[in-house]
């Protein structure tokens, strides 16, 4: 997951590496994802999220659609 100055820079990177445009997040979404995903990571009682929990977290941030579907 890379950081870019703008969507134009993403498109330039995609052309350079001959890859389709993937999933895009605003910085606000990225920070929210970081907090929800990693906020409890240093807790002694941490456990990994289930696929259902992870999918619900994506949906909460607005990451919906085929690209954000986790494997079954």
């Amino acid at each position: 997951m890379l950081l870019f100055r703008s969507e134009q820079h993403v498109d330039r990177w995609c052309r350079q590496w001959n890859r389709p445009r993937g999933g895009m997040l605003s910085l606000t979404q990225g920070w929210k994802l970081a907090r929800l995903w990693y906020g409890d990571r240093l807790s002694p009682s941490w456990r990994g999220k289930t696929a259902e929990e992870a999918q619900a977290l994506f949906t909460e941030i607005g990451l919906v659609g085929e690209f954000w579907q986790l494997g079954g």
């Binding site: 950081l3 895009m24 994802l33 690209f67 954000w68």
Partner: protein, 156 residues
């Protein structure tokens, strides 16, 4: 002579102790411990620690290098990267922008992330103050669909 319950002595207990030991070491030093250091700190044979590491890796939160040493203890990278998180006078590496932001999120501390544009490599610094990300300009790009993230986690 008493015996400890299995919850304090079995593989699960070792995994929990190892996980916390790794994070404590990274937080204190900015670097991941070597497997031999883990074994010494836990007073366990190397092979037991290696087995525990393999179990921790099942969650994808931990990833090993080909030489058996840690590559990643999410959100921390055990190897130098272009994504640095700083809080106070300390700094840590993340494997990607999500992880670098995740370090500040895990610490629950304000700080900054030093990164650069994936396209032109110009420096981009993101600041977290009072728990809020200050910058609005910029975007994060995921090249790999979510269902394939762990097929090649290094590329992802």
């Amino acid at each position: 002579m008493g015996t400890k319950p299995a919850s304090q002595t079995g593989p699960n207990a070792l995994d929990r102790r190892l996980r916390l030991l790794i994070y404590d070491h990274i937080l204190d030093t900015g670097r991941a411990p070597l497997v031999a250091q883990m074994a010494r700190r836990l007073s366990r044979p190397l092979r037991q620690v290696q087995a525990a590491l393999r179990r921790l890796c099942a969650s994808h939160a931990f990833v090993l290098q080909e030489n058996g040493e840690l590559w990643r203890a999410a959100p921390f990278s055990a190897v130098p990267t272009g994504f640095t998180a700083e809080a106070g006078k300390r700094s840590w590496w993340g494997n990607c922008i999500w992880d670098a932001l995740g370090i500040l999120a895990a610490l629950h501390q304000d700080g900054l992330v030093r990164a650069s544009c994936g396209c032109c490599n110009l420096e981009m610094i993101l600041h977290v103050r009072k728990g809020a990300l200050q910058e609005k300009r910029g975007t994060i790009h995921f090249a790999v669909p979510a269902r394939l993230w762990y097929d090649d986690v290094v590329f992802t």
